[in-house]
């Protein structure tokens, strides 16, 4: 049983990243009411950006985080405002297809330019550990955990307390009322998409020191992120956070008891269980 606690802690560190990716997805879903199929591809793109920042510019992923955060915010804003919105004429089924198309284009461009080679970076602190008494946690994982929670808290504050956050929530439910108080709905859509995309950039920077990047890497995360979003309740912030952490722990425990390669079985078993017993998710819908 001495492995149990370290497993749970390990699961929490993975879960924090799941939560961060899911927060971005749930924000976009909650406001735009669309499933963003390009989310995983954008995560992959951010992982490559962090990879090249390290290998070409010598920039540590943690140092690159603020830059990538802003860069991917701008990318997400532009994608929504001038690609998705423009190409979909504001119709939900079109938006769905446009994000799916974006994913295909981004994935294949990545495959074309960077091939399917698995790439990793070397960081001097990769094998350093933090001694928690009950368990040793690799330093990069500890940083990822704390970083993800801090960013989740910042996002929470942004959505809860600022005028931008109030406008985001207002647009999620009442577009016309929002226009009548002078909120530019298209701008808020793009801001939400930008913030959601910034979340995957942050996740990428926190992830890369202990992970790898290939053009397909986004799928592993986005599948879990979709599960997290549904598990926590579509559009619910708290749900995405708790759901992400929970899935990380479930995965780690299943890995411990069933063997490493079967860890993800637990995620989907839990998912099916929640869908059967509580189809609206653990926390219902907060945003929408």
């Amino acid at each position: 049983m001495s492995l149990l606690l370290p497993s749970i802690i390990n699961g929490l560190t993975t879960g924090a990243i799941y939560a961060l990716v899911a927060l971005g997805l749930t924000l976009i879903y909650g406001v735009l009411h669309i499933i963003n199929f390009a989310h995983g591809s954008l995560l992959m793109l951010a992982l490559y950006a962090a990879f090249f920042a390290k290998t070409l510019l010598g920039l540590d992923p943690y140092a690159a985080l603020p830059v990538l955060l802003l860069g991917f915010f701008a990318l997400g804003y532009a994608l929504q405002r001038w690609v998705i919105d423009w190409a979909s004429h504001g119709r939900d089924q079109n938006i769905l297809l446009v994000t799916l198309g974006l994913a295909l284009v981004i994935d294949n461009l990545a495959l074309f330019f960077w091939t399917s080679t698995t790439r990793t970076i070397d960081v001097p602190y990769a094998f350093e550990v933090v001694d928690l008494g009950v368990a040793l946690v690799p330093l990069p994982r500890a940083i990822a955990f704390v970083g993800a929670l801090v960013l989740a808290a910042l996002l929470w504050a942004l959505v809860g307390w600022t005028d931008l956050g109030k406008a985001i929530r207002a647009v999620a439910r009442e577009k016309e009322g929002a226009r009548l108080v002078g909120i530019r709905v298209e701008h808020i859509y793009a801001m939400s998409f930008g913030i959601g995309t910034a979340c995957v950039a942050a996740a990428a920077c926190l992830l890369l020191p202990t992970f790898y990047v290939t053009p397909q890497v986004g799928y592993a995360f986005v599948l879990v992120a979709f599960t997290t979003v549904v598990l926590g309740g579509m559009g619910s912030f708290l749900g995405a956070l708790v759901g992400g952490l929970l899935l990380g722990v479930v995965e780690a425990l299943c890995g411990l008891f069933l063997g490493e390669s079967l860890g993800q079985i637990g995620i989907f078993a839990l998912f099916i269980l929640v869908l059967l017993l509580r189809p609206t998710g653990l926390f219902g819908a907060r945003l929408a």
């Binding site: 929530r169 009442e174 009322g177 009548l180 002078g182």
Partner: protein
């Protein structure tokens, strides 16, 4: 101050407004009357930029706002309290009021909030409650208070008494009179013809997308044609 000049507007190929001309002066209450489908709501939506005018011009305080976006029109000083209230049900009362000053009046948000709450004391008791849980009358008050938070020069009210109890309707009309006393012009669209004409300075009657009758409210109230068609006398 507000000049609507031969405006035409509609949805898709269907014209709703067929050349409406109307004026609202500074601090005036102007009533717009008319049957359902006459184009009253479309007129409001065209003024506030939700619907594009296909012809004609809309001037406000000297500026041409015909092609302006809704947020620019709010910034210019027009607040539109729509039919159906359109409050944010998932936000608290306080947050709804905050967003009233999203585009205009943000610097004096605290002072305006205090003033709005003295006008609507019932909202003060419900500040932390989510707006969707308010009663219909309270939601209507919130919608108007949210409109006032932007320090409007002109307030457009679309059917503010719809769905309210007779006592609340009475209160609503007193309130509109008080808003005008504070110097805000009001464009009032109402089904409630008698009470509207009592508080309005002037009135227009819309019929099939055009003005069929206009004049001083007192004159219109005595007009035999209007009496026949709207007051059933």
């Amino acid at each position: 101050m507000l000049d609507v000049v031969v405006v035409e507007a509609g949805y898709g190929a269907m014209p709703v407004l067929r050349g409406v001309t109307l004026k609202v002066g500074i601090g005036e209450i102007v009533a717009v009357l008319g049957a359902n489908g006459a184009g009253k709501t479309t007129l409001n939506r065209t003024i506030s930029g939700l619907v594009r005018a296909s012809a004609g011009r809309i001037l406000f305080a000297g500026d041409d706002i015909t092609r302006a976006a809704p947020d620019q029109i709010v910034a210019a000083g027009i607040a539109h309290v729509p039919e159906g209230r359109r409050i944010f049900p998932n936000l608290t009362v306080r947050e709804n009021l905050d967003l009233g000053s999203y585009r205009r009046g943000r610097a004096r948000r605290a002072a305006n909030l205090e003033r709005a709450l003295t006008v609507f004391p019932r909202l003060a008791e419900r500040l932390g409650q989510s707006a969707g849980t308010l009663s219909g009358g309270e939601q209507q008050m919130l919608a108007i208070a949210r409109g006032l938070m932007s320090e409007p020069i002109l307030l457009i009210l679309d059917e503010p008494s719809l769905g309210l109890s007779p006592r609340l309707v009475e209160e609503m009309f007193e309130l509109i009179a008080r808003i005008r006393e504070a110097g805000v012009a009001v464009l009032l669209v109402e089904q409630n013809v008698v009470q509207s004409l009592e508080i309005a300075d002037r009135a227009y009657v819309l019929e099939r997308g055009a003005v069929s009758l206009e004049g001083k409210a007192a004159t219109l109230a005595a007009d035999p044609k209007l009496k026949k068609s709207y007051l059933g006398m």
